[in-house]
Protein backbone atom coordinates (compact mmCIF):
# COMPACT_ATOMS: atom_id res chain seq x y z
CA UNK A 1 0.00 0.00 0.00
CA UNK A 2 1.16 3.53 -0.73
CA UNK A 3 1.11 5.53 2.50
CA UNK A 4 1.36 9.18 3.39
CA UNK A 5 2.17 10.12 6.97
CA UNK A 6 1.45 13.43 8.68
CA UNK A 7 3.21 14.40 11.92
CA UNK A 8 1.54 17.24 13.79
CA UNK A 9 3.25 17.21 17.18
CA UNK A 10 6.69 18.12 18.42
CA UNK A 11 9.42 15.72 19.53
CA UNK A 12 9.61 14.75 23.22
CA UNK A 13 6.60 16.96 23.99
CA UNK A 14 4.11 14.51 22.52
CA UNK A 15 4.12 10.81 21.81
CA UNK A 16 2.58 11.37 18.36
CA UNK A 17 6.08 11.98 16.99
CA UNK A 18 7.24 8.59 18.33
CA UNK A 19 4.12 6.75 17.19
CA UNK A 20 4.49 8.18 13.69
CA UNK A 21 8.10 6.97 13.57
CA UNK A 22 7.21 3.50 14.85
CA UNK A 23 4.35 3.28 12.37
CA UNK A 24 6.58 4.33 9.46
CA UNK A 25 9.25 1.81 10.45
CA UNK A 26 6.73 -1.02 10.85
CA UNK A 27 5.01 -0.17 7.55
CA UNK A 28 8.34 -0.27 5.70
CA UNK A 29 9.25 -3.58 7.34
CA UNK A 30 5.93 -4.97 6.10
CA UNK A 31 6.82 -3.91 2.58
CA UNK A 32 4.55 -0.89 2.24
CA UNK A 33 5.66 2.15 0.31
CA UNK A 34 5.86 5.53 2.04
CA UNK A 35 5.22 8.27 -0.49
CA UNK A 36 5.96 11.12 1.88
CA UNK A 37 6.10 12.10 5.53
CA UNK A 38 4.82 15.62 6.08
CA UNK A 39 5.61 17.64 9.21
CA UNK A 40 3.18 20.36 10.26
CA UNK A 41 2.16 22.36 13.37
CA UNK A 42 4.83 21.72 16.07
CA UNK A 43 5.71 18.55 14.14
CA UNK A 44 8.18 20.69 12.19
CA UNK A 45 10.43 20.65 15.28
CA UNK A 46 11.23 17.00 14.53
CA UNK A 47 13.51 18.39 11.83
CA UNK A 48 15.91 20.51 13.86
CA UNK A 49 19.45 19.17 13.78
CA UNK A 50 20.24 21.20 16.91
CA UNK A 51 18.28 19.03 19.33
CA UNK A 52 20.48 17.51 22.03
CA UNK A 53 18.51 14.99 24.06
CA UNK A 54 20.09 13.26 27.11
CA UNK A 55 22.39 10.43 26.05
CA UNK A 56 20.22 7.71 27.53
CA UNK A 57 17.19 8.84 25.53
CA UNK A 58 16.20 8.32 21.90
CA UNK A 59 17.37 10.92 19.38
CA UNK A 60 14.19 11.70 17.48
CA UNK A 61 15.71 13.78 14.69
CA UNK A 62 18.56 11.36 14.09
CA UNK A 63 16.11 8.50 14.01
CA UNK A 64 14.11 10.21 11.23
CA UNK A 65 17.23 11.10 9.27
CA UNK A 66 18.53 7.53 9.44
CA UNK A 67 15.20 6.07 8.39
CA UNK A 68 15.05 8.53 5.48
CA UNK A 69 18.52 7.61 4.33
CA UNK A 70 17.94 3.88 4.62
CA UNK A 71 14.65 3.91 2.72
CA UNK A 72 15.11 7.01 0.58
CA UNK A 73 12.11 8.70 2.24
CA UNK A 74 10.74 12.12 1.37
CA UNK A 75 10.55 14.04 4.66
CA UNK A 76 8.86 17.38 4.03
CA UNK A 77 8.63 20.24 6.52
CA UNK A 78 5.95 22.87 5.92
CA UNK A 79 7.67 26.17 5.20
CA UNK A 80 5.06 28.43 6.82
CA UNK A 81 4.90 26.36 10.00
CA UNK A 82 8.71 26.07 10.06
CA UNK A 83 9.43 29.75 9.60
CA UNK A 84 7.21 30.96 12.40
CA UNK A 85 8.93 28.44 14.71
CA UNK A 86 12.50 29.32 13.71
CA UNK A 87 13.35 26.40 11.44
CA UNK A 88 15.31 27.41 8.36
CA UNK A 89 17.32 25.63 5.73
CA UNK A 90 20.37 27.25 4.15
CA UNK A 91 18.40 28.92 1.36
CA UNK A 92 15.84 30.36 3.73
CA UNK A 93 18.60 31.52 6.07
CA UNK A 94 20.05 33.60 3.25
CA UNK A 95 16.69 34.79 2.00
CA UNK A 96 15.58 35.90 5.48
CA UNK A 97 18.96 37.39 6.40
CA UNK A 98 19.49 35.09 9.38
CA UNK A 99 22.82 33.81 10.70
CA UNK A 100 22.04 30.10 11.10
CA UNK A 101 20.13 27.23 9.62
CA UNK A 102 19.02 24.10 11.40
CA UNK A 103 17.26 21.64 9.09
CA UNK A 104 18.62 18.12 9.59
CA UNK A 105 19.81 15.84 6.77
CA UNK A 106 17.03 13.97 5.03
CA UNK A 107 14.45 16.71 5.57
CA UNK A 108 13.45 19.32 3.02
CA UNK A 109 11.35 22.45 3.32
CA UNK A 110 8.39 22.90 1.03
CA UNK A 111 4.79 24.09 0.89
CA UNK A 112 1.43 22.78 2.01
CA UNK A 113 0.72 21.66 -1.54
CA UNK A 114 2.96 18.70 -0.76
CA UNK A 115 0.50 17.64 1.94
CA UNK A 116 -2.49 17.88 -0.39
CA UNK A 117 -0.55 15.98 -3.06
CA UNK A 118 0.17 13.20 -0.56
CA UNK A 119 -3.56 13.01 0.17
CA UNK A 120 -4.33 12.70 -3.53
CA UNK A 121 -1.56 10.24 -4.42
CA UNK A 122 -1.62 7.86 -1.46
CA UNK A 123 -3.93 4.96 -0.74
CA UNK A 124 -4.02 6.09 2.89
CA UNK A 125 -3.00 9.31 4.58
CA UNK A 126 -2.32 8.64 8.24
CA UNK A 127 -2.35 11.62 10.61
CA UNK A 128 -0.49 11.55 13.95
CA UNK A 129 -1.58 14.42 16.16
CA UNK A 130 -3.04 15.32 19.52
Amino acid sequence: MKLGIVVLEGPYQHEAADTAYNFAKAALEKGHEIFRIFFYHDGVNNATRLMVPPQDDRHIQQRWSELAEKHNLDLVVCIAAAQRRGLLDENEMKRQGKDAHNIAPGFRISGLGQLIEAGVQCDRLVVFGD
Binding site: V6, H41, L115, E117, G119, V120, Q121, L125, V127
Partner: protein, 135 residues
Protein backbone atom coordinates in the same frame (compact mmCIF):
# COMPACT_ATOMS: atom_id res chain seq x y z
CA UNK B 1 -3.20 15.48 -10.26
CA UNK B 2 -6.33 14.75 -12.22
CA UNK B 3 -7.72 12.49 -9.49
CA UNK B 4 -10.44 14.14 -7.44
CA UNK B 5 -10.80 12.86 -3.91
CA UNK B 6 -13.16 13.74 -1.09
CA UNK B 7 -11.11 15.71 1.43
CA UNK B 8 -12.59 16.25 4.88
CA UNK B 9 -10.87 18.72 7.19
CA UNK B 10 -11.84 17.94 10.76
CA UNK B 11 -11.55 20.82 13.22
CA UNK B 12 -11.68 19.76 16.85
CA UNK B 13 -9.90 22.52 18.77
CA UNK B 14 -10.91 25.95 20.07
CA UNK B 15 -9.76 28.86 17.89
CA UNK B 16 -7.47 30.37 20.51
CA UNK B 17 -5.12 28.88 23.05
CA UNK B 18 -3.34 26.80 20.44
CA UNK B 19 -2.41 27.32 16.81
CA UNK B 20 -4.32 24.30 15.47
CA UNK B 21 -7.31 26.23 14.14
CA UNK B 22 -5.24 28.88 12.35
CA UNK B 23 -2.88 26.42 10.73
CA UNK B 24 -5.76 24.12 9.72
CA UNK B 25 -7.37 27.03 7.95
CA UNK B 26 -4.10 27.66 6.13
CA UNK B 27 -4.20 24.10 4.78
CA UNK B 28 -7.77 24.56 3.59
CA UNK B 29 -6.91 27.82 1.81
CA UNK B 30 -3.82 26.38 0.09
CA UNK B 31 -5.61 23.10 -0.65
CA UNK B 32 -8.36 24.98 -2.49
CA UNK B 33 -5.96 25.45 -5.40
CA UNK B 34 -5.82 21.68 -5.97
CA UNK B 35 -9.44 21.32 -7.12
CA UNK B 36 -10.38 18.51 -4.82
CA UNK B 37 -13.84 17.86 -3.38
CA UNK B 38 -13.51 19.68 -0.05
CA UNK B 39 -15.68 19.66 3.05
CA UNK B 40 -15.03 20.94 6.57
CA UNK B 41 -16.24 19.41 9.79
CA UNK B 42 -16.42 21.16 13.15
CA UNK B 43 -16.85 19.16 16.31
CA UNK B 44 -15.82 19.11 19.97
CA UNK B 45 -14.31 22.52 20.91
CA UNK B 46 -13.83 23.09 17.17
CA UNK B 47 -17.37 24.49 17.03
CA UNK B 48 -16.07 27.58 18.90
CA UNK B 49 -14.14 28.46 15.73
CA UNK B 50 -17.47 29.40 14.14
CA UNK B 51 -19.00 31.31 17.04
CA UNK B 52 -19.75 34.90 16.07
CA UNK B 53 -17.97 37.96 17.39
CA UNK B 54 -14.40 37.05 18.11
CA UNK B 55 -12.35 39.78 19.73
CA UNK B 56 -8.66 38.91 19.78
CA UNK B 57 -7.37 42.36 20.73
CA UNK B 58 -6.34 41.40 24.25
CA UNK B 59 -4.72 38.22 22.98
CA UNK B 60 -2.35 40.11 20.73
CA UNK B 61 -3.09 37.68 17.93
CA UNK B 62 -4.64 38.24 14.54
CA UNK B 63 -8.40 37.87 14.21
CA UNK B 64 -8.60 35.33 11.41
CA UNK B 65 -12.34 34.72 11.65
CA UNK B 66 -13.07 36.68 8.43
CA UNK B 67 -11.20 33.94 6.57
CA UNK B 68 -13.95 31.44 7.48
CA UNK B 69 -16.64 33.60 5.89
CA UNK B 70 -14.48 33.91 2.77
CA UNK B 71 -14.20 30.13 2.32
CA UNK B 72 -17.08 30.17 -0.18
CA UNK B 73 -14.81 32.13 -2.54
CA UNK B 74 -12.34 29.25 -2.26
CA UNK B 75 -14.95 26.79 -3.49
CA UNK B 76 -15.61 25.40 -0.03
CA UNK B 77 -19.33 24.77 -0.20
CA UNK B 78 -19.86 22.23 2.51
CA UNK B 79 -19.37 22.80 6.22
CA UNK B 80 -20.65 20.23 8.70
CA UNK B 81 -21.18 21.24 12.32
CA UNK B 82 -21.96 18.58 14.88
CA UNK B 83 -25.21 19.26 16.76
CA UNK B 84 -24.19 17.43 19.94
CA UNK B 85 -20.96 19.42 20.18
CA UNK B 86 -22.96 22.65 19.95
CA UNK B 87 -25.52 21.52 22.53
CA UNK B 88 -22.91 20.27 24.99
CA UNK B 89 -21.44 23.78 24.94
CA UNK B 90 -24.76 25.63 25.24
CA UNK B 91 -24.57 26.80 21.65
CA UNK B 92 -27.01 26.73 18.76
CA UNK B 93 -26.90 27.49 15.05
CA UNK B 94 -27.87 31.11 15.83
CA UNK B 95 -24.53 31.61 17.57
CA UNK B 96 -22.58 30.76 14.42
CA UNK B 97 -21.19 33.03 11.72
CA UNK B 98 -22.81 32.89 8.32
CA UNK B 99 -20.93 30.89 5.72
CA UNK B 100 -22.18 30.97 2.16
CA UNK B 101 -21.22 30.08 -1.40
CA UNK B 102 -22.54 30.99 -4.82
CA UNK B 103 -24.28 28.05 -6.47
CA UNK B 104 -23.14 28.09 -10.09
CA UNK B 105 -25.79 25.51 -10.99
CA UNK B 106 -28.56 27.74 -9.67
CA UNK B 107 -27.96 31.18 -11.21
CA UNK B 108 -25.16 31.90 -8.70
CA UNK B 109 -27.63 32.17 -5.85
CA UNK B 110 -25.98 32.65 -2.49
CA UNK B 111 -26.58 29.60 -0.32
CA UNK B 112 -25.57 28.59 3.17
CA UNK B 113 -22.63 26.18 3.36
CA UNK B 114 -23.47 25.15 6.92
CA UNK B 115 -25.10 21.82 7.66
CA UNK B 116 -25.89 20.94 11.25
CA UNK B 117 -25.54 17.17 11.53
CA UNK B 118 -25.87 14.64 14.32
CA UNK B 119 -22.92 12.72 15.73
CA UNK B 120 -24.20 9.65 13.95
CA UNK B 121 -24.34 11.48 10.62
CA UNK B 122 -20.86 12.89 11.25
CA UNK B 123 -19.51 9.36 11.61
CA UNK B 124 -21.04 8.47 8.26
CA UNK B 125 -19.59 11.59 6.62
CA UNK B 126 -16.15 10.61 7.91
CA UNK B 127 -16.55 7.05 6.69
CA UNK B 128 -17.35 8.32 3.20
CA UNK B 129 -14.36 10.68 2.95
CA UNK B 130 -11.26 9.58 1.02
CA UNK B 131 -8.82 11.76 2.93
CA UNK B 132 -9.35 13.03 6.46
CA UNK B 133 -7.05 15.67 7.86
CA UNK B 134 -7.83 15.95 11.53
CA UNK B 135 -6.54 19.00 13.39
Amino acid sequence: MSVVKKFLYVNRKAPHGTIYALESLEVVLIGAAYEQDVALAFLDDGVFQLVKGWDTKELGSKNFQPAYTALGDYDVKTVYVERESLEERGLSEDDLIEMTYEDEDDDFKEKSSVHIVSREEMAKIMAEADVILSF
